[in-house]
Subunit: 733 residues, 2 copies
């Protein structure tokens, strides 16, 4: 369906982009800082101009212990710790005290008063089947049934979707598959459904649940039910589930947020929720006006099994033992579906815990390790498997610090609050301290869940982090005994074997995914352009079935996902070594040419995605800045500092302060999340791919202008990034 | 007319601001970097940790020569050099070659293809008196009459206002005094005039002419005539004028731009005008839709002397020998006024000339000296008196460089193009290289006109530049022999004597004005938050009468304004020494507490301006960061660098990437220009004072919300600035 005019526009401007990348980065070959700066400290051998102690790597590997991590996880998962509750504050305070005991100094609790969302225990959320006499024929379960003796459910919040509106819509049910844009388009355009006033039911999966809700609201649905189909969450059959396996039982429900923007507290968009700050009035808040509620497949069966209407197409079928139908409505005449939703938005205080190990030589350059603390229930995977690793890394760095080791740069450990609601703690923090962070952060290293499976490592990163990720994982022993037997000794070896990707110069590297939204790295990327990485050990594909349910327990982790905690240990080592390399290396382990290569890949993907088909001009990408780095005068600490700054700050250049088209809070033109799927960054230029998607649905002159204009901005920001790598006293060409 | 509710809002939030300033800046007393950083280079005495050679100051004073400057000015004023014309490029190329010969390296021409505006020589702009038979009774002069034998007028562009629309509106004349917001409000509200379709005539003065035009267009006028009244421009009488004095003759006309935004090329708002960039389509351009034209008072007399209607109030009278009347229309029945305006927007190329003296130790920190090159005609004052100084400073620094002197930081000389049209060259440059500049610029030092009179120095600066301005001017000999005789030996002595202001701790300092718009420092302030200063030698009050006319010649300067060029010499010395101090001092000569003090003054002014009246809480401002600076470990170059960066980058914190209310391109919450008077920044918080002004005209709930919200943003950004001064490894409180 590619449109000719659009293609011409894309082609023309994309060519410009590519030429800019090649040409301007090519110019840096002129640079020769060694001659310009001279040698000021010949003969001085002081630690100010020395590299860090690489022996620390082996100390980290030796000290980081699977058993210790297991101990942390047991403690962290002993109680539910939903954001903004007393249990969450208790855990934050404990973490603060532990970090202080390790030697981190100072450790502070950084509070934000924010709008969160909670269900009402007194009036639980229910989905009801109503017959023609207005009687309740069936009501969904109010809470998830306890399935293990140690389950203590007294503090468990019943299933809900955060930021749902409250209300009791009643009407005809319509099944809309995964609730993606193409699903809504098909049912309304091809099948002619009018969704106004309908109760829509979507299955979980493929895209962010908040994106499903956004589409449901836009299409006029009166409410949205989201359920977990066994096709996606009980793949080994409905009788092979938790507590006997890692799969979701019919009583399990996936909680989760439906934040509209995924950018922090909805009452303070773009600004921090600090004392005395301005709050958007209630009637202007960008939150859902319709109720949204998750249910399990036992409950879903009661509704889906009774639906009227045409049978769904093949790709829309799940594996419940029913005939899936589109609706509208139920087969019994005048029966209907009612949602009784009491979920309400409420002001609460969330806390980030922040602990420092001060840098000795460059304390004003930061490497930040972050993991969120809040969990929907026990959170044994999300986020506590990551938190257990964070505690272990903090403990070991604290030990090294007490022994006298000092990193060159400052290391900051952060336990984020209220990530689950929409990256609230991290986003407010970035909003409050963004200018300091833009000046000073070398890298933000995120770990949400650390272990979801045993197949291979997985990472979302900006290209500036590729080199250090590869170098680091090569040093960390492989946690998988079978892989070691097969000759793959490091985390890297299995990663590149199982997730290979052809990269620069036709060589094979481990695949690394683009960052989008989805965890606390996002505000660092899309708001202030700080180089980030996020990582975990994962299954071959997909997540884990018990995600965000009350069954995500210590039992799940110690029985099925990582009984020996060897994968946790490996991930803690990766994290620790990344932090060491970035905080203690004299010259930063970064190759800016990784960025140039990725940009050319994204341009190719943009062409592929939108049908452009043309011969590129003769282009060779030059990577001369990396050569420049090898020529640094290491006797001059200010020279090294300058080149390090140039490498790190290249990322900032992709931030447009004006934001993406129609989305002023998303500012990274390469790595912001997509508009209708916050978990994805599409083809790498989200402002373009979002608009092109809309144009394929309906082309308007305005949209074509937006594409032309935004391509021009991208082209400019790439040239701006290139200019930052020029010889500093000759950056205007 | 202050409204009670508004006052309450202002009071509450203003108190918050003040507390934030005091408290958080107070916190920095905890900082003690010396202990944290240790001493790494004890015993090392290398220039990397040494201060620059202060003896250079005396060399500068000795080398900078009045005669040399006079020679430059003679050459620069030999021909008109309007922006975008061949003469402009010729001058740019000459400057490039001269700078290269001085030793600056590299020197580049930095071109932008931009939309400028020109009159049509074939069809000159005329204002005509039309009688009841539709005959032309009078036509204004097409060009300014040559008054001196050396005047070469073949290349002089006839009088025009840039970015005027073309067209031939005809109708009744209405006199609107200075065309300020209060003038328009009075004539329409108190006098009940409907200005729709009227030809308005305003006198020059008080506010930016573009602001007059904006109001005229908003009030529905069909066209705007702006003239120079003898009351403002021929104060010694109409027979005591150029070429016999410095006052404006009746044939002289003030040209000037009516840029709507004063932010660069109107076809690329917010982005640089580089190859392949997106341009706003013609029908979406933010330019005037009405014709605007300047005339002299000889011509104005022909219209004003024939007007009908009520006599104007006292404050509206000029000194033409007529009875000033409001109109509408002329006393002869059915006579009318017609504008024949052929001024058109046109794409042209403008050039910045950029020359470097590379820093030896910190080449990635810049001190920029800038002056624009384009003149409406000969530009002997504006801008060439400044350009002559720039040439001289460049020559002398080049000489020192050739002798082996090397500044610690990079010094960049820039000759801007197309400033007169709306800061076009500087704005496009800041748009293109803003991210590099934000990272690297220590200070931007602007000089537009250098000498307009002999009374005292005048400066517009951000508070971070106060200290270096005072220190510098104390070193520069007084150019005024009478003042020297009176015991005032330095530029500072006369400055503080003649423009005193009570500042910090009740001491008297020279008055320094807030930056707003008006010259090339503006984009550095309002867009990227770089510390700036602008300065000149000036009359006691006001500008100079021949401003932007064809009579602004070498004759004016060498006969009346600065016959011996002593004031030029002094200003060149000030500029050179500022550049030396900022580029070569090891620790930057900045006191951040100057900012804290000014903010408290602006808060007071905000209260005064809007009638707030309350007792402040007990507030004491602490200035501990300045103490911190005195405790720097000077043996550690990275420590000094860090503290320097903190001081400079404090300014960046006042930039809100979202922009001021309704003005996304103006981002500095303290020092952006006011909306209806681009030359002023009102009471120091333009987003507030603009909105309060509107509220006093008409209060709406929306406007009150805007004030509340924006005060919250200001309060936050001040706390952000304070956080940047915290101990770097403990910045979260």
């Amino acid at each position: 369906m590619a449109n000719q005019r659009v293609v011409v526009v894309v082609v023309t401007i994309v060519v410009t982009i590519v030429i800019v990348v090649s040409f301007i980065i090519g110019f840096v070959s002129v640079q020769n800082p060694t001659t310009k700066s001279g040698t000021f400290l010949d003969g001085v051998s002081d630690k100010i101009i020395k590299d860090g102690d690489e022996g620390i790597t082996q100390r980290l590997i030796k000290e980081i212990s699977a058993n210790s991590i297991k101990g942390y996880l047991k403690n962290l998962t002993s109680k539910p710790h939903l954001a903004g509750t007393p249990a969450d504050l208790t855990q934050a305070t404990q973490i603060k005290e532990e970090w202080e005991s390790y030697g981190l100094s100072p450790v502070v609790l950084n509070p934000y008063r924010v709008m969160l969302s909670y269900p009402d225990r007194e009036s639980p959320n229910l989905i009801q089947l109503i017959n023609d006499k207005d009687e309740i024929v069936f009501s969904s379960q109010a809470i998830e049934k306890p399935l293990r003796p140690e389950h203590n459910y007294s503090d468990v919040a019943p299933p809900f979707n955060a930021y749902s509106a409250s209300g009791t819509p009643q009407g005809d049910l319509v099944y809309i598959n995964y609730g993606r844009q193409e699903d809504f388009a098909w049912i309304t355009q091809t099948k002619g459904f009018n969704l106004t006033g309908k109760i829509c039911i979507a299955r979980y999966g493929k895209i962010y649940r908040g994106s499903k809700a956004l589409l449901a609201e836009n299409y006029g649905c009166a409410g949205l039910i989201i359920y977990s189909d066994p096709a996606d969450y009980a793949k080994n059959g409905e009788d092979n589930v938790y507590p006997n396996s890692e799969w979701l039982p019919g009583t399990g429900v996936q909680r989760g947020s439906c934040s509209k923007c995924n950018c922090g507290d909805p009452t303070t968009p773009g600004y921090p929720s600090i004392d005395g700050c301005y709050r958007v009035p209630d009637d202007k808040l960008d939150v859902f006006k319709i109720p949204i509620q998750p249910i399990g497949y036992d409950d879903a069966l009661e509704f889906l099994g009774k639906m009227a209407g045409e049978e769904v197409p093949e790709g829309w079928k799940g594996t419940l033992n029913i005939t899936y139908r589109l609706g509208p409505g139920l087969s019994q005449v005048n029966w209907s579906t009612r949602m009784r939703i009491s979920t309400r938005n409420k002001m609460a205080t969330t806390y980030n815990v922040i602990g420092y190990i001060s840098g000795e030589i460059e304390p004003d350059r930061y490497v930040i390790l972050g993991n969120h603390r809040d969990a929907w229930v026990f959170g044994s995977v999300d986020p506590s498997s990551g938190k257990a690793c964070l505690m272990e890394v903090a403990r070991v760095f604290g030990k090294l610090y007490k022994e006298g080791w000092r990193p060159r740069r400052t290391i900051i450990f952060i336990s984020w609050g209220a990530e689950e609601y929409g990256l609230v703690g991290s986003r407010e923090f970035v909003e409050q301290f963004g200018k300091n962070l833009q000046d000073r952060v070398v890298a933000y290293l995120n770990m949400d869940s650390s272990v979801q499976g045993q197949y291979a490592m997985f990472s979302r990163s900006v290209p500036l982090m590729y080199k250090v990720l590869y170098e680091t994982t090569k040093k960390i022993p492989n946690p998988n005994p079978d892989e070691i037997k097969a000759g793959r000794k490091s985390v890297y070896d299995t990663w590149v074997e199982r997730r290979p990707r052809v990269g620069r110069n036709g060589k094979t590297f481990p695949h690394i995914t683009r960052p989008a939204s989805g965890s606390d790295f996002a505000p660092f990327t899309y708001s202030i352009g700080v180089p980030i990485t996020g990582m975990r050990y994962m299954k071959q594909t997909g997540g884990y079935a018990l995600y965000h349910s009350a069954y995500e327990t210590m039992h799940l982790m110690e029985t099925f996902l990582d009984p020996e905690f060897k994968y946790h240990e490996a991930m803690a080592c990766v994290w620790g070594e990344l932090a060491r390399a970035l905080s203690d290396s004299y010259v930063l382990p970064i190759e800016v040419s990784d960025y140039a290569h990725e940009i050319s890949v994204y341009v190719q993907q943009l062409e592929d995605a939108f049908g452009a088909n043309f011969t590129r001009k003769n282009i060779t990408l030059d990577y001369n800045f990396d050569e420049t780095v090898t020529k640094i005068n290491k006797n001059n600490p200010l020279h090294v500092r300058r080149v390090n700054d140039q490498m790190v700050k290249m990322e900032r250049h992709f931030i447009d302060p004006m934001g993406l088209p129609n989305r002023p809070l998303y500012r990274h033109v390469i790595f912001s999340p997509n508009e209708f799927n916050a978990y994805s960054s599409g083809s790498g230029f989200p402002g373009i791919s979002d608009e092109m998607f809309q144009i394929e649905l309906e082309e308007t002159p305005e949209r074509l202008e937006v594409v032309k204009r935004h391509l021009s901005v991208i082209s400019f920001l790439i040239s701006s990034a290139a200019s930052s790598l020029e010889d500093v006293s000759d950056f205007v060409k």
